[in-house]
Amino acid sequence: MTEPTTQSLTDALGFSTVSGPTHARRNRLGTLLAAARSWFRAWRRTRPFWGALWVIVAGAWIIYWMSFDIGIALTGGWSYSAGYVMGGGLIMFGLVTWLAPHYKSLAGIVAFLIALGAFPTANLGGFVLGSVLGIIGGSMIWSWGEKKPSERVTSGG
């Protein structure tokens, strides 16, 4: 098995300097998958991945229980659009956390507040579950940062 961590991505993908490095080209799909996995792991560990995931799930759950025809949501006023506004806000701040992890403190606090605000406005916050997930996710995003080093390096993200 090759060691994807010691290679640069271009080597792992088969864009290599050496003409025909057999170790990289023998099993190109496997190498590609391993490279994708290690890339995803690095991506996951450089941003508050799990908190943002919970926030996005919370938003999707709230929208699921308040999903109306988009025409009605636009014309029907607050009671029809609240699910899209609150759930959409949660999804948006989850994505912001993923794509721009610098804003994690702000995104975490806003997601937390939206999750609380969804309770009185959007079906009791998706029947409580959406609000709870949003609060947990928002707190996780806000508190994300450097941890004490430990022997086990498998967890994290």
Binding site: S8, L9, T10, F15, T17, S38, W39, A42, W43, R45, T46, P48, W50, G51, Y64, M66, S67, F68, D69, I72, T75, G76, G77, W78, S79, Y80, A82, G83, F112, A115, L116, F119, P120, T121, A122, N123, L124, G125, F127, V128, L129, V132, I135, I136, G138, S139, M140, I141, W142, S143, W144, G145, E146, K147, K148, P149, S150, S155, G156, G157
Partner: protein, 303 residues
């Protein structure tokens, strides 16, 4: 720069390299250089990300606990406020078919007409099968000021791999196992002349303003309904009840279509299949409880 990208890099001076006479050669050379430079940049960035991810261990720290606890406490406080009639919430569902039960509905100024459901792609009208095009005919019943003695809503969802799960929302008085359809359920106190809720039942009633129910089946015992007008032209019932119906063009009441208006509509033992419970105003839900339980549930499971 990777050797692959360097291969397309300019080595000879402008205008003297091979292939420069053909427009195609110049263009593709430029495109290749740009593409390989982009790949190189992406690789560089992910290599940076990788060293960054391996240098320090990051994650959600212990200081996420205080906001979590605070948030849960606020949520519990809001839930309590809703249960004690102190906080009004917006409660609107447009998705699945609900089973709806109530001991008594005391509706001032109710208006109804026939309309399609507010959401496409809900559950099929006859069978409980998902159908993306399903849009069913329902009664759109609007109530200006509604008081409900007890409320139990059950929505059953078939979750893949897990099976049936029911969401049960109960509020107000307890719901008995069944209604007989010809009398007021025991324990519900009503005014003998007007049929409105009084005394104990009024105190624990759920009150809602501008409540709209989309349902394809509603049954119950009509008790002392007054000022009822059946067959009123549909576009006027909203004005009679002081309500504004909303929706897209084919959901709004049409001129000359069948409409219903009642100044005071009382229904005991209300039992309905509803597609949505929409609110333009607010609702107060005393003794609120929300449960998610496995299996398909019926009225007998409400209390």
């Amino acid at each position: 720069m990777s050797p692959r990208a360097r291969r397309f890099e300019r080595t000879e001076p402008w205008g003297e390299e091979s292939g420069t006479l053909s427009m195609w050669g110049r263009l593709t050379g430029r495109l290749y250089r740009a593409a390989y430079a982009a790949i190189d940049r992406a690789a560089e960035r992910s290599a940076e990300m990788k060293t960054d991810s391996e240098s320090v261990r990051r994650g959600s720290r212990k200081r996420s606990l205080p906001p979590m606890i605070l948030g849960s406490a606020v949520l519990v406080a809001m839930f309590g406020a809703v249960s004690q009639n102190a906080l009004a919430v917006n409660f609107t569902t447009g998705n699945a078919k609900f089973k709806l039960y109530s001991n008594y509905l005391d509706a001032e100024h109710a208006a109804g007409y026939l309309a399609p459901t507010s959401r496409q792609g809900a559950t099929d009208c006859d069978a409980d099968v998902a159908d993306v095009q399903a849009q069913c005919g329902v009664t759109e019943l609007g109530i200006h000021q509604a008081k409900l003695a007890g409320l139990c809503g059950i929505a059953t969802e078939n979750i893949p791999l897990v099976g049936n799960y029911s969401l049960m929302i109960t509020a107000g008085d307890d719901i008995p196992d069944s209604y007989d359809g010809s009398s007021i359920p025991a324990g519900t106190t009503t005014d003998p002349s007007t049929g409105k809720l009084t005394a104990g039942s009024l105190g624990s009633a759920i009150s809602a303003t501008n409540l709209f129910i989309n349902s394809d089946a509603l049954s119950g015992y009509g008790n002392k309904i007054s000022g009822m007008n059946l067959g009123q032209s549909a576009e006027t019932v909203g004005d009679s009840a002081g309500l504004a119906f909303e929706g897209n063009a084919n959901q709004l009441p049409r001129t000359g279509a069948f409409g219903l208006y009642a100044r005071q509509l009382n229904m005991a033992g209300l039992n309905g299949h509803s597609y949505g419970l929409n609110l333009k105003g607010n609702i107060t839900l005393p003794n609120l409880s929300i449960k998610v339980v496995p299996g398909a549930k019926t009225q007998a499971d409400c209390s």
